[in-house]
Symmetry: C2
Subunit: 140 residues, 2 copies
């Protein structure tokens, strides 16, 4: 199974700890996560040195190639919003997770697409549990 993990990069890294835990859960389940590096500390500097067109093409190719997309949407991001729509358009299932402490765009929480699942968590442990449960239901 291949999962595209999406999170804010240039929009802010306040929730980086959660990104790293979610990616860890995916990798420990043996899932291929081509974007695993975007959870790393310092990614915004590395990303900043790459040509925009190269990043765009690489990321849409990865979305096309994945089985589903998992997005952490607690920190606003144009890129993640775009990627969610891109994946849904391709018919890929999308899971969005966000902290109950933040307000998330209603273009995400109000989207009735049947392949979109939007869940909110109180803490890191609940976020991990929601991810595991979603994947478990998806795999059966």
């Amino acid at each position: 199974m291949k999962i595209y993990f999406a999170c804010s990069i240039s929009g802010g890294r306040e929730h980086e700890g959660i990104y790293q835990q979610l990616v860890k859960v995916l990798l420990l389940l043996g899932i291929d996560v081509p974007t695993a590096h975007i959870a790393d500390t310092g990614i915004e500097e590395i990303d900043g040195r790459e040509a925009p067109g190269d990043i765009y093409q690489r990321d849409v190719d990865w979305i096309k190639d994945c089985d589903l997309l998992v997005a952490e949407v607690s920190t606003p991001s144009h890129g993640v919003g775009y990627e969610i729509g891109y994946a849904l358009n391709l018919g890929k299932p999308v899971l969005c997770l966000y902290s109950q402490a933040v307000a998330v765009s209603k273009m995400i929480t109000g989207n009735p697409h049947p392949r979109l699942t939007v869940l909110t968590y109180q803490n890191q442990q609940e976020a991990e549990n929601l991810l595991r449960e979603y994947l478990s239901a998806f795999r059966t």
Copy 2:
């Protein structure tokens, strides 16, 4: 002419003054802007009271009905990123404007879609001029 103006609501209102000026330019040109109210001060509270599904449906209907989309992308936003992709998918021209003082997602700046124009400005006057020039070229 009908233009969908897009900007951050729940993601933050740091650039609200620019949103209001850009909407003013559009309205003074006699353009119909169904989303003009999202530039208003206090919109995040009004928006917060609306049902997410209603906001989503209203906004995608407005995108379908518009001639083009103008987005101010200085403040990250899942909704705006989603709307940009949605409009491009429908073949609508999209103009993104952002302040040179900020880093914008490479999923926006690196997107090679022929109908997408991404421009950066140094100050409010330049933002207004870029918008007027874009519309002028679009209308001829």
